[in-house]
């Protein structure tokens, strides 16, 4: 889910950027440093929901505050700069508003399937990758291999393949060390 929040960051600026364009330089450095980053990393477990049978939620393992910064929408305040001892760099505390994406346990969201294999399928929801293991896919759906691998119901009425849109429920989160992946 997307949120609009206010964050604060201490930005260090080299003296070559001082002068008339100080504020602009600070803001563009902020954007370069922050937009597109993710604070903390997490793995999320999801289950297919709503249309199919109830799946018992797993225990919540950890719930750290982690999110992706999608875009900065405005600068609220830039505080007074402090010169750092010994280097000449100046640190400015900057308060800014931004759009972040943070998935939540129990949240239901829509995603696009990117890859299907016999272990399950991968999907994407905004900046976040999701993996749904075949254990969490309803029993009446079977894996069909071929040019376009998919999970299909026995009567062929529902098919999950690349580029299908699915609704997923997030049932737990875990912190991972390398990247943001949801499962």
């Amino acid at each position: 889910m997307f949120f609009h929040i206010v964050l604060e960051r201490n930005m260090q600026l080299h003296p070559r950027y001082f002068g008339r364009n100080l504020r602009e330089n600070l803001v563009s450095k902020l954007m370069k440093d922050v937009e597109g980053t993710c604070r903390g990393l997490f793995v999320i477990q999801v289950s297919l929901c709503v249309l199919w049978a109830n799946i018992e939620p797993l225990l919540l393992l950890e719930n750290r505050s982690t999110w992706f910064v999608v875009a900065i929408t405005g600068i609220e305040n830039i505080g007074k700069g402090l010169i750092r001892d010994g280097t000449g760099f100046v640190t400015f505390p900057v308060k800014y508003q931004c759009v972040v994406f943070r998935p939540f346990k129990g949240e239901i969201l829509e995603a696009v399937v990117t890859m299907v294999n016999k272990m399950g399928f991968f999907a994407e929801a905004g900046p976040v990758q999701i993996f749904v293991s075949n254990h969490l896919i309803p029993d009446d759906m079977e894996f069909q291999s071929g040019d376009m691998p998919s999970y299909t119901t026995s009567d062929g009425s529902v098919k999950i393949q690349k580029d299908s849109e699915v609704r997923l429920k997030i049932i737990g989160t875990r912190v991972d060390a390398t990247e943001i992946v949801c499962a």
């Binding site: 949120f3 609009h4 929040i5 910064v69 999608v70 759009v99 943070r102 949240e107 696009v112 929801a125």
Partner: protein, 137 residues
């Protein structure tokens, strides 16, 4: 450059997010498109300047926005705000647009917890109002 710390103004245990301002996909689409246009005016090649996160988010919200028109988006938020929902609940309903009361309760079970003033009729009225906006968008 090392030594730059980031602190969240809200507390960092995650629960505060439940009180933070949530955005529906359609609202995020308007914000990101506006930002993209600003970048287009400033340079010839905006695609190079935006991060992959931005691009993916923009594609995602455009694909999954139920309402495209800014007035419709505003109306949706206004209507849902009349029903004493938490921000989180409002956005899930606005994003997924359930058609029946059962669907809505399945998506946001918290609207039916004890002590809240949402009976089935109120929920049905809310869903009807939402679908009207879609019809006349």
């Amino acid at each position: 450059m090392s030594g730059e710390e980031e602190e969240m103004l809200l507390s960092s245990n995650g629960d505060e997010f439940l009180k933070a301002k949530c955005l529906m996909n359609c609202e995020v689409a308007l914000i990101l498109e506006h930002k993209y246009e600003q970048l287009q005016q400033m340079s010839d090649d905006p695609m190079n300047q935006v991060s992959q996160v931005f691009e993916k988010s923009l594609q995602y919200v455009k694909r999954f926005s139920r309402y495209k028109n800014p007035d419709a988006v505003r109306q949706v938020r206004e209507i849902l705000s009349r029903y004493q929902l938490a921000e989180f609940e409002l956005c899930v309903l606005g994003n997924l647009c359930p058609e029946t009361v059962e669907e809505a309760i399945a998506m946001v079970p918290s609207i039916k917890t004890k002590g809240r003033a949402h009976d089935d009729e109120a929920i049905e009225k809310m869903l009807n109002d939402l679908s009207l906006i879609k019809k006349f968008e």
